[in-house]
Symmetry: C2
Subunit: 388 residues, 2 copies
């Protein structure tokens, strides 16, 4: 590792580097270390989402204790409020939020397409109205990079064009090709030595488009690659199939990031297909809504069956929620106490981080396929929903 | 201290004992240690309010880090939801909530008078409808003790009758006398060896009533005494005056608890008059509403002046909120992020606990009056409201 680390520091400035430690023989699962300007991250890794500069409801010390090593900030939200200039003037997103580890920012494109009002798309970019105050704004590849450089994340994402699925091949191809042109513009515009820009593969569920996109982006030689436009309502099997033919087209010595995904099942299946990084609001959003992820399946804590259940969510989980009983957690939700959403968000992130850590250990031990089977076996108990 | 502790363990079962360490010569301020079945508490002390079994939004590890050593649970809220029988069956309020230190429960009377609907008062007790589901219920001195014994707090409070102020002397005297009769019934009914029952002095702002009540309760020989019915809208000066003539009538070797009070000023003035214990929702409730207490006065964090203020709330405060900037805290409130209320609640409790700790140190050092002057000097800077 020392050689790689030295190479990281000496060679390409402060760009992130993935040091691969093992590739599973039976699957394409990879274990490695991602070197970043704000420290090393073991992979595969799950990134909690800190939308507006905080992972909702979770104090930093508690967030660190979940095992999270890298978090995500949303460019659209932060640009609107408090504005990237203020964050830059206050020392960047790290100093502003107090998070000392690596951070990744998205491009803002997804939120412009999903949250903003009256958006209008041209080759130049997208004009839209803020969903907060109706302010007229513009996001382009250059503007997205400008914001992300002001925020100062370790990893920035190219702005891409999203299309809803299902859609016509023509529309999907058009958006994919525009995303490639925009990726080139992002790369040309980017100037921060200590920030690494990831390209994003689009192309819907079309094999040829995905492969063409991956190859075109690979030519641009990004320090990392993401697969975007998935987990937008298609069945899991179609997402896994898309990964089956897309990931092999990505440069294998670079990190692979599956954006906005997903369920625990999506994580282990994505890892089996060569994905190294994930982000998703699911553990926090579901936690706020009283759903806990466990190795025994999902549990809905408002269920009457937990009323007098003195056991923790998971016997061996080290998180603060698991120092209490299911009965207490249920009580907090029934009484509308903030602490319920807080504790379940913490538990779910801890669950996700423990899951990817266990994936990593299984890959290094050469038993990843067996580990996947054990996960499915555990989840099928569905203690929360059907069992005792 | 060892002698006292041995006496505590050998003598009167598990009742709480106040070990006085110093009484200030210039004021009546006292420093001591309250021995309880769940550990020792330095006095004077502030108790955060854990209404429904959690101090709103504060994970236990963070609560412990504020310096809080004893917390309060609300009998009315807990009896309604989840019900005291469930909590008893799950091992009591300590085991249920995970809080390992001492706990105090109120009688539920205050909430019956302030929150419940269609309450009807007789000598027997109060019948009322739950504010949650309209269920018809009854609270009497015996029922209040029954609930508090099921909860298993270290300190239980007698059920008393509250009257709104201003009111006629006749009504106030009647309520005071009924409170004394109820206190006797509570004492007769109480059976837990490891729970200590505190009597509550009532009597409005009437000197004679307060003194008579204190003397009547002193005859019943409670292990501790509270002053109730204050901080209900009267000017601070009237509250301090009431304490001036009430506290000297209380047994001086027993703890003195001023219920539901108050502002930082109320704390230092109460301590100067011989009060050892306080509870109040103010630090958490105001924290949730973006108000921070500091040694420089109150700060309203939504104020535009904090937009780019990179300083912490207080330079020397060890709490997690003070590891961030005022600008970041303001941003959390402007963006409606849960973490804002959480961090400010933590800061305010930390401020209150540091304040009573500093009071204690000043008393022990024989400079309490000087310390009060320094507090007033600091607060008058009102940095948050007027200053820089």
């Amino acid at each position: 590792m020392e050689t790689t680390l030295r190479r990281f520091l000496e060679s390409d400035g402060m760009k992130v580097k993935l040091e691969l430690q093992k590739v599973d023989q039976e699957t394409k699962a990879r274990a490695g270390v991602l070197h970043t300007p704000h420290g090393d991250v073991p992979t595969p890794i799950f990134m909690p989402v800190g939308t507006v500069g905080s992972v909702k409801g979770i104090e930093l010390g508690l967030l660190e204790a979940t095992g999270a090593r890298i978090i995500l900030g949303n460019t659209y939200h932060l640009a609107l409020r408090p504005g990237e200039e203020l964050i830059r003037d206050l020392g960047g997103l790290h100093h502003f939020t107090g998070w000392k580890g690596p951070m990744l920012t998205d491009s803002g494109g997804f939120q412009v397409f999903s949250l903003a009002q009256r958006s209008k798309l041209t080759e130049e970019g997208v004009t839209f109205q803020s969903h907060i105050d109706g302010r007229r704004m513009m996001l382009s590849p250059e503007r997205s990079i400008e914001i992300q450089e002001a925020l100062g994340s370790d990893i920035a994402m190219c702005m891409d064009q999203l299309v809803g699925l299902p859609n016509t091949d023509e529309k999907i191809y058009e958006a994919m090709m525009r995303s490639v042109r925009w990726a080139k513009r992002c790369l040309d515009f980017a100037s921060r030595e200590d920030q690494s820009l990831f390209g994003i593969v689009q192309g819907g569920l079309n094999r040829n488009f995905r492969i063409e996109c991956a190859q075109r982006l690979a030519e641009l030689d990004f320090p990392g690659y993401a697969v975007g436009g998935l987990s937008v309502g298609e069945p899991p099997a179609q997402m896994y199939e898309t990964l089956d033919y897309t990931v092999p087209e990505l440069p294998q010595d670079k990190p692979h990031y599956l954006m906005g995904v997903g369920t625990p099942q999506d994580l282990i299946e994505g890892i089996a297909r060569g994905i190294d990084m994930f982000d998703c609001v699911m553990p926090t959003r579901n936690g706020r809504n009283a759903m806990a992820f466990t190795k025994h399946g999902k549990m809905r804590l408002r269920n009457l069956k937990y009323r007098a259940d003195d056991r923790p969510l998971e016997e061996d989980c080290p998180c603060p929620a698991c120092r209490r009983s299911r009965a207490y957690l249920r009580h907090l939700f029934m009484a509308g106490e903030m602490l319920g959403p807080i504790l379940l968000s913490i538990h779910n992130i801890t669950y996700y981080e423990r899951l990817v850590t266990q994936c990593r250990e299984a890959i290094l031990a050469g038993r990843y396929r067996q580990f996947m089977a054990e996960c499915y076996e555990g989840w099928s108990q569905s203690e929360g929903e059907n069992g005792t």
